[in-house]
Every structure is written in C-alpha cells, then in structure tokens.
C-alpha cells in the first residue's frame, strides 16, 4: 500500500526474443506474482511465454506499422506508475517469440541463497554471459527491467556494458551491428533523474514512452534512425488478458467533446426587466469614444506637436487683505 502521490514516465522492433529458463518449472499460471521472463527484477503474473530450448534467430511479424525502426539496435520503453509497461513488453514477446530462452533471475538476483548456481558478476555478469552464449545471428534481448540495473550499477558502467555487448555480438556474427543484437529494456521514469535517463536514451534508436488518457493507454514512439530525421508517432493500444496487443487508430472518442450542432443560440439579454440593448446611434457613439487614458495615435500627435492654445495653462490668483505678496521673495511671510 503506497500512501501518497506517485508521479507518472520495450522497443517494438524486431521481435526475436531470447530468454532462458534456469530451474523454471514450466508453465505455472497460478500465483500472485510469478516471475516473468528474462527476469531481472521482473514481476510477472499470469501466463508466461512459451519456454523452449530452441534458440533461433527467426523473425516474427510485428503488429506495429513499418514506420517504427525495423533494424533498431536498442531502445528503452519508458513507463510510469499510472501506465505500466510490463504488459506491453510481454505482449510483444508473446506476439513474436518463436524460440524463447528464459533467464530467471527473479528468485535470487543477489545470490542470497548461496546455492552456488549463480553466475559471477551479478545480474550484469549473467546478462553478458547470456549474450556470449548465443548463436551468432539476429537476436533480441528483452530486459525487465533496466531500472533494476540502473539502481544498482553506475550509469556509465551500464551504458558501456550495453554497448560492448552489441559490439561483441556483431563481431561474432560478422554482419552489421544494427542487425545483430536488438535490445528491449523497460525503464521506470520516476525512478531516475534526467541524467541517467538521457544517457540511456542517447544509446537507443527508438524510445517508447507510455502514457494515456481516459483509461486508454498510448505509446509515443520516437524513432531516430541514422542519417534520417527523427520521427514521432503516437499509437493507442490495449493489452488483452491473453497478452495479445490491440491497436486502435486514435484517441478514445469520449475524450473529444464536440458541441451539439442542433442547440439554438440563446440570447441572454432577451428576457430581462431592463434594457441592455443599444440603438444604432448609441452604438456608434460608443465605438467612436476614445478613452481618456488610452494612448491613441491622436494623443501621440498632439504631444509631438506642442502648439499654442489649450496646451498652456494659467492660474488666476486674487490676493486678499492679509496676503503680503512680495514677487522678489514669495516666502517672506513665512516665519521660518
């Protein structure tokens, strides 16, 4: 139970997902919060994606329009407390996973159980080892979540590790780096400052920021391809209970209020006991009135051309019997 306010912050690209099951007991849909997949701090519930031992680089179909990056190298999907992104990440994995390898780091990410099965180097070491174990070829790594890593590692170390992983994979594969390793990461935007978030964004070719309105989630997709202009697109979507993705064309209709064209315009001054209407002559007089303190062009001209007449002013003074006016010393009558 969180008492208080929370402020509301998986790259949908080539969807070949890798995750590897270590000690996973197969599909176990029961339970309140079962582990997700490639779980670095993941909190999956309900259905897990299909787990199989086959590792394949095959490509699946993307439900999103082709304007999103087909060859993205990596990208964070940013969510917030109000609009969570884990379900979108799972939906993308489910949609496209042909061969899924699942690394379960949910139960013991910090090796508290001391079972001896943990990989050296903590979760980052496990991630690097996983990338090294893969066959060369196009592959996608989905991370839930990057925030977990970013809270426990220095930002620079994490960024360097992510870059190094994609470079190493590219070297082994022999093809261009952008087509070899695709990384999807989930980032919770309230947990980090603008610095680390910006650093991870700069590594990414595509960023998906989740928000929403009127109960409908939206994804703002910013795509930065090399030598091309960045593109920004907004998609409205919902994730169904079976983790399938449902894309809608535009924002929900209830959020666009439109005036009823059949309502006649009512004149509010028509049924009063006093008259608020102006006659034609009155209206003309009102429009031609210049306000005294308004600086109009006529006043400006009058000031620029000081002429005789009303511009000068005079004072008329009639001294009475007790006044003793002395033009040489006007203050002579003061007893100072």
């Amino acid at each position: 139970m969180g008492a208080g306010r929370g402020k509301p912050r998986a790259l949908p690209t080539r969807p070949q997902y890798r995750a590897s099951a270590e000690g996973g007991s197969g599909a176990d849909p029961g339970g309140e919060a079962g582990p997700a997949w490639s779980g670095v701090g993941g909190a999956g519930d309900v259905s897990r994606p299909r787990v199989s031992g086959r590792r394949t680089g095959a490509c699946g179909l993307l439900p999103l329009p082709p304007t999103t990056a087909p060859n993205g190298s990596s990208g964070p999907s940013r969510d917030s407390v109000e609009w969570e992104g884990r379900s979108l990440l799972k939906a993308l994995i489910k949609k496209a996973a042909l061969g899924l390898v699942y690394y379960d780091l949910f139960r013991d990410p910090l090796n508290w159980a001391q079972t001896g099965k943990a990989l050296p180097g903590g979760p980052l070491g496990a991630l690097q080892a996983m990338c090294k174990r893969t066959d060369p070829g196009p592959v996608t790594v989905a991370l839930d979540s990057l925030s977990w890593l970013l809270l426990r590692l220095p930002c620079a170390a994490l960024c360097q590790a992510l870059c190094a992983m994609s470079r190493q994979h590219a070297c082994r594969g022999g093809g261009p780096a952008a087509e070899q390793l695709c990384m999807l990461g989930l980032l919770h935007r309230e947990l980090h400052g603008p610095g680390p978030t910006g650093a991870l964004s700069s590594l990414a070719q595509t960023e998906v920021t989740l928000s929403g309105t009127a109960g409908q989630a939206s994804a703002h997709i910013l795509c930065r391809r090399p030598r091309q202009r960045p593109t920004l697109e907004t998609l409205w979507f919902s994730v169904l209970p079976d983790l399938s993705l449902d894309l809608q064309g535009g924002p929900p209709l209830e959020s666009q209020p439109h005036p009823d064209p059949h309502t006649p315009q009512v004149d509010p001054a028509s049924h009063l006991t006093f008259n608020l209407h102006l006659s034609k002559r009155e209206r003309e007089a009102k429009d031609s009135l210049t306000l005294p303190f308004q600086f109009s062009s006529e006043k400006q001209q009058a000031l620029l051309r000081p002429g005789p007449g009303p511009a000068t002013s005079r004072i008329f003074y009639e001294p009475d019997a007790f006044d003793d006016l002395d033009p040489e010393d006007p203050d002579g009558d003061l007893d100072v």
């Binding site: 139970m1 969180g2 701090g41 407390v81 949910f106 013991d108 508290w112 809270l151 109960g215």
Partner: protein
C-alpha cells in the same frame, strides 16, 4: 493516520468479524507471526546474539542489505510439524518501510528486501504482501521517492490514503484512491482507478462514495 489505516484495513478483510480480529488470540493459535520492531531492537542492543538477529542492521555501521530480516520471514513461513500445518496463501504485512529508511538503510536495500519477500511469499507460497510507505510530499527526499516509486512499480494494486483536499472534516477522515496496475482483468473496460472516502471508527473503517457520507445524507 496512515498507520492506523493499515491496521484497520486488515480487519475489514474478514467482514464476518465486524467487531475486529483479536491479534493476541491469532498469535496464540499460531495464525499470526508477529515481529515487534521496537521490542526486538532492544534485544539487538542489550542481549548477546548467537545467530543473526532480524534487525541486525541496527548494530552494523554499514549494513548493506536486509538479508537477516528476509531470512526471518522465510523461516516464519516454513511449515511447522513437517508440513502438516503448511501456510496457505500467507499475507505479509509490513508496517512500515519508511521506518527502515529513517533507520539508515538505503532505498535500494529496502527494495531488494521486498523483492525477495515477493519471490517467497507471492511466488512460492502464492500469498500476498501489503506494505506501507509514507509520502510526506517532500520532493527533496529522494530516497523515499525512489522507495515509493520502486514499490509502486512492483505492485499490482496501489492504495493511496490521503486527507481531503478541502481540509479537516469530522465525519470524513480522508479519501482512498485505488489504482489497479495489472491490465489482465476479466474485462478490459474496467476502471483503472476508484476513489472512496472513509471514516475510521473504533475497530473498523467505513467506506463510502465521494460525497455520500452518512453524516451529510
């Protein structure tokens, strides 16, 4: 106020006992395992400990994690009498996590503790966790904000209890906003959040829709 709220909430989970649940009786029956932080902390300081105490971090200058506290939770959940009375759908109530921050633990250490508790209580034992975090609204308190947001992202349900925005009221003590974070609901059109107002009574809490307090109807 939120502390009282948390205690009252667990009572309303079983509506048949509207007069409240006797925690002492539950403890004697073995239905409740209760770690009283204040009393236990005295043991840490003034009694020699053979094995790591759950609140061992109070003694250590640089306690890095809350593993002893997690081990306590795990031991408490182990079935007694060789599995005859196994815990079924246990509930872990933590009151409250902000105290751990003020005792010197970092937000990441507290989040790790909750993560391990989730792995054991929620995934292994199919239970639930209810944890309380205070939000003073202070944007300068980064550790508390990280804890609050990190916990929110791990949760399926967020209950925000806050005072009325219009000020103090004798008959309505506050409002509760319920936010569902999992989209896997039976119907996708379900409301993601609901707001109720509440009044805390002697041993229970009464909830009503906004503006529908019995005092004003």
């Amino acid at each position: 106020m939120p502390t009282q709220m948390a205690a009252s909430l667990c009572i309303t989970f079983s509506p048949s006992t509207s007069k409240g649940v006797s925690l002492t009786v539950a403890r004697e029956c073995g239905q409740l395992v209760f770690l009283e932080g204040l009393k236990s902390s005295v043991d840490v300081f003034f009694r020699a400990q053979v094995e790591p105490h759950p609140l061992q971090f109070l003694r250590e200058a640089n306690a890095e994690n809350l593993q002893p506290l997690y081990e306590f939770v795990r031991e408490a959940l182990k079935p007694v009498d060789d599995g005859e009375a196994a815990w079924r759908c246990p509930v872990l109530l933590v009151d409250d996590l902000s105290v751990l921050l003020s005792l010197g633990m970092g937000a990441v250490a507290v989040l790790d503790f909750i993560h391990y508790c989730r792995a054991t209580v929620c995934w292994e034992r199919k239970g639930n966790i209810v944890a309380l975090v205070h939000d003073s609204g202070d944007t300068e308190d980064e550790e508390n904000n990280i804890l609050l947001n990190g916990l929110s992202h791990q949760s399926h349900l967020i209950l925000r209890a806050e005072g009325l925005p219009t000020g103090f009221c004798r008959d309505v003590h506050g409002q509760l906003r319920i936010l569902w974070r999992t989209p896997s609901q039976p119907t996708t059109q379900r409301d993601r959040s609901l707001t109720y107002q509440y009044k805390i009574q002697d041993k229970s809490v009464s909830f009503f829709a906004k503006g529908m307090s019995p005092a004003v109807l």
